[in-house]
Symmetry: C2
């Protein structure tokens, strides 16, 4: 089986990119879209983020065999309730959220009669909203599918095919493990970035203007992900608390060791750590998960 009509609920960066990618890469598949914000719907119509943009969530999912919820994690429950009246009994309900265990529970509670197969495309930029999406966002990026026990194999396979059709590589994983992996590769980096950018803007001895001027020393790298959508990220931390705290405590232990090395002048410990971390960067670039050009390919004109 494969999907013929995809409903996209939430037309920001990810939802909009899915709509544009389906149009560009999956011929014969039609899309319908909905967003709770009328201004977003208007912009979505102008950008043609889906073939049809509806003013009502239940109408948007009518006739769809795949429904993808592209809303903040904390809005999943309300979105599920809003689409229920229009849902076909055979439709697969999926999503793109960054914490899978809580979303699976929420969706199974809201839609107990339906097939729920959560997914998470590990892709994005720091921009958000209906102007941020583009059709190649998922190329060469991983999408993690986290089917619950007993989910129909043909529907799982169809969802995997769908994401591969958008250019992604797909891995399946159980939701608990997904949440630990993403805590390390995404949630803690965002938490650290948000925190250090906050720290730097409130110092007594260094002005905010100085922080901005001299940010090319490394700080500016952190400001990119610290410019991500605040509501989306609040919801991620509220919904992946256990894994985030576990990984945060590992980081804090290591940072305390590093602090002690600096205090004690232990250059050997520092040099050892700083040498090991280079290898990870090389592997990420070799695997096509980052730009091989220096400085992320930033322009130096």
């Amino acid at each position: 089986m494969s999907f013929a009509r995809v409903a996209i609920i939430g037309l920001g960066l990810i939802g909009g990119s899915i709509g544009l990618a389906v149009r560009d890469e999956l011929s014969g598949v039609t899309t319908s879209g909905f967003d709770a914000d009328p201004a977003v719907r208007e912009r979505a119509r102008e950008r043609k983020l889906a073939d049809e943009i509806h003013d009502d969530a239940a109408e948007a999912v009518t006739g769809a065999d795949l429904v993808i919820l592209c809303v903040p994690v904390g809005a999943m429950g309300a979105a599920a309730k809003a689409i229920l009246p229009g849902l076909s009994p055979d439709a697969v309900i999926s999503d793109v959220g960054s914490s899978k265990r809580s979303i699976l529970q929420t969706l199974q509670a809201a839609l107990p009669e339906h097939t729920i197969i959560p997914a998470h495309p590990v892709a994005g930029t720091e921009h958000s909203g209906p102007d941020a999406g583009f059709s190649t966002l998922f190329h060469q990026r991983w999408c993690i599918v986290t089917p619950p026990e007993g989910a129909p194999e043909d529907k799982i396979a169809a969802l995997v095919d769908f994401w591969e059709g958008l250019g992604a590589m797909v891995e399946t994983m159980d939701p608990e493990h997904h949440d630990k992996v993403l805590a390390v590769t995404s949630h803690i980096p965002h938490l650290i970035a948000y925190t250090i950018v906050g720290t730097a803007s409130d110092l007594e001895t260094v002005t905010r203007s100085e922080v901005i001027k001299y940010s090319a020393g490394g700080f500016r790298d952190f400001t990119r992900i610290a410019a991500s959508d605040p509501t989306m990220w609040r919801d991620v931390f509220l919904n992946n608390k256990d894994a985030v705290l576990e990984m945060l405590d590992s980081f804090l232990t290591d940072l305390a060791l590093m602090r002690e090395a600096i205090r004690a002048g232990d250059g050997e410990m520092m040099h050892d750590t700083f040498s090991r971390t280079r290898a990870i960067r090389r592997s990420i670039v070799a695997l096509g998960q980052d730009d091989p050009r220096p400085d992320f390919g930033r322009e130096h004109e």
Copy 2:
């Protein structure tokens, strides 16, 4: 006054970029270069990083009216001793290191009869060595000049002119303040990046291969600066200990508050912080200190 002959000691990313930039942008100024590593000198000759590459540091500075030490902070003292026999009494000795107070003390102790005017171009990439430099590295970047009390005004002005000639914007500052500003905008970001990349590669519950595969969720951003030169960075932390520890403790205080917000489920505190940090990013982009394109301009093909 202006400089006619510039000696560059150390031909890695920064030294090599200075040589290439002088050739491209300062007509009439000649360069001579030296590196302690014979393999680097050979590559520097092939890339023509300076007009002349010498096998002896003292020979390289003979006749130079500006000498720029482009070596790790911990190697400044040895480099100063090595050039002394060839130094002209009127030459200005400068450098490009990332901690100014310790370098000023080291150079004044090693070269008590000479004019020392430290400087720090806040520019770079994660690459290092003689192949890493390029002539536009300093364009639109700030260079901080930290003249000691009593340094001759005409020589300070000539050094400012030199850096502006390479495309940089120049600010003067006292060395202590420089060290605090750079602790925030450069040293702490590097320390955090090195630490989290180390943490992520040693976890029990998530494999290194998973960290690499799903790094596009944010982690990969940190791996770039964690791929910087280990010796250079060890020396920065050994030589800017006080300011780094002060700023690190501010960050740790804020991170503890954020940890508590996650533990307690305080979504309002998180949303407030995450909203404020967006403004800093916008200011950095508006000031030309980062690429305005989403995702640093990384390619999404």
